[in-house]
Amino acid sequence: MTNPWIIIIFPVITGIISLFLNSERWRKIILVVVAFTHLFCTIKICSGDSSLIESTWIGVDHLTRLFLMIVSLLFTGSSIYSMAYLDNHPHLNGPALIGPKVLGNSNAVFVACMQFFLAAMSLAVLSMNFGLQWIGIEATTLASTPLIYFHRSRRSLEAAWKYLILCSVGIALALMGVFFLAMAMTSHVQLFTSAGMVLFAGYLKVEWLKVAFIFFLVGYGTKMGLAPMHNWLPDAHSEAPSPVSAMLSGALLNCAFLGILRIYQVCAAIPAMTTFASDLLILLGLLSLAASGIFILHQPDYKRMLAYSSVEHMGILATGVGLGGAAIAGAMLHAIAHSLIKASLFLLSGNILCAYSSKRIEDVKGLLKVLPATGILWLAGFLAITGAPPFATFISEFAILRVALQTKSWATAIMFLLFLLLVFIGMLTIFSQMTLGKHSEAGEHKDAKESLLQLVTPAVFLSFALILGCYLPDFIRNTIDGAALLLGGRVL
């Protein structure tokens, strides 16, 4: 049995080492080695039995397994991509720290912060104790802020500042929620973990739990990008380097979502709380869907478009969990599928940005001719993210919609469909403009080239999403069903 603490502490140590390293090559090797070690340990941990479930601090249950796999896979993919990305964006080389003096050395800081980011996300996912989880989620904000400011431009500075302030304030409110949740406990409840509280759900004080849930939802909801609090998200995701955007969108949002799920798990154990929590989740979910649908329609910037699409998918996740029953399992599948697809789209957008050196949609034309492989994957990604049939997103969205119809929540179902359609139309126009449009100045991008490193991750992730749509392997199905049961839902 691998000790889960390893995958939290190991990246921190290697991250600190890579701050002092002089050689660009070694730093990259460390990054990839850490990624694969993390993936290996994650598989070991996830395949082991969940004997740690009684633990006070960190443990492994089905929810942890699901989200830890996502984080680890995405990090591995992004780190492979980063090898090529760092070559294309040469910054200063050399160690970031010489003695007490800190140099603003981008590449060393980038590699180190990626690893700290990984450690923080692993902590956020693995922690069972609510206080520890708060520390993990706040640490993800801190580790990722320097990554967003990687390009050192005014725009990235603005994005990073907004991100840091808004998320910190949001998470400070979540800390209030943690304190209130502690008030909900009575002397019967021994452990300050979701499992411990579910066990003694009857002894919890419902009023305090209600207040705590609201603070959790607003606090972690800010980090997750739910609608009224999503302002930072398009900026941060569009200004960050592409491998970082992929991590932010695919892994980080899920970590914050897990923060909400943990308290939802407690709420689901108390009948009086379940409807209250579910209604709030559905409300915020539909609001997110609406906001992204509106802002995606005339979006001039393709990375921002992807960012708004993340808001949309977080809305789908919240709505799915709010609807309950089999929709929760649908939402879990959707979380996996969205992470894989959105990460590959962000990585592909990095290829496009490299070739065209513009984020404006109107500047990108004839993608299929200029970058054939990227163009084809970009189109496949479009089909996947909008939930076209062979992909896993179709199954999950369909499962959520089916539950909405079965429970006769007509308003939710209609709005859900309407906003999905709106997003589909918005994305269709954008993607068709980019890929199909005639390329007028064909000679300009002759030097545009695609390296294998930049293509392998998106291709693999997209084919995963395709395979999951056709055939759900047993261990993934078990994990999804287990997670849904923990949250009071039904199997897929």
Partner: protein
């Protein structure tokens, strides 16, 4: 405990009404110091843990962070907050209103539950509110940082007065997170100053989807 709570309330009222940045930084340092004393005044179960926590809190929030903010202020050469969206007098009045609101919330809460220290809880809520108020109404990035610090102090005070006992490791972890957060903000203050020639966060408008007229806010420099 109640004396400290009263002092905390007073200091944040002064924060809301003051235009001089040096004054606000001093007030925040004072608050950090008071907060450090707070864990020692209640019923103390593990004295050594409480002392560790209080020493860490005073060093970080009372000394290190204010020192760093003061340095950021000196480097950027800004001495006072430019006219905020809502005038200083008005924010102070709003602060008093918020104090009443926090008192009301705590009174409501007391109906359902016996609270360990209602006065301190009122202060906690009030600090949270005034931190948010500072964040919303002020333009300088440095004042927003101070606002966040006040908010964080409020959350801390709320937690202490609710008597929700965490393990000391969690408390230290929270403290560390907050410290690194403010530290990052401090570093970014330098960069913002260098890039934009000012630290007015409200003139951040290069990233916006709502084409709210990019009105040229009148250049107010020191």
């Amino acid at each position: 405990m109640n004396t400290i709570a009263a002092l905390l309330t007073l200091s944040s009222l002064l924060l809301l009404g003051s235009s001089r940045l040096r004054m606000t930084i001093k007030m925040v340092a004072f608050q950090g110091f008071l907060l450090g004393l707070l864990p020692l005044t209640g019923k103390v179960e593990h004295l050594s843990m409480a002392i560790v926590l209080s020493v860490c809190s005073i060093t970080l929030k009372g000394i290190l962070l204010p020192w760093m903010l003061a340095r950021a202020m000196d480097k950027s050469g800004t001495k006072r907050e430019i006219e905020p969206f809502i005038s200083f007098g008005a924010t102070m009045l709003m602060g008093i209103a918020l104090l009443v609101v926090s008192g009301w919330i705590v009174a409501k809460l007391q109906n359902t539950q016996q609270l360990a220290s209602p006065v301190c809880l009122t202060t906690g809520f009030f600090l949270v509110f005034s931190g948010l108020l500072l964040l919303i109404t002020r333009r300088k990035a440095i004042t927003q940082t101070i606002g966040f610090l006040v908010l964080e102090n409020g959350v801390f005070a709320t937690g202490l007065s609710l008597g929700s006992e965490f393990s000391v490791f969690v408390e230290l972890g929270i403290l560390l997170d907050v410290f690194v957060g403010i530290f990052l903000m401090g570093i970014m203050l330098f960069h913002i100053d260098k890039e934009f020639d000012h630290i007015d966060a409200d003139r951040f408008n290069e990233l916006s989807d709502l084409d709210l007229a990019h009105f040229d806010s009148e250049d107010i420099s020191e």
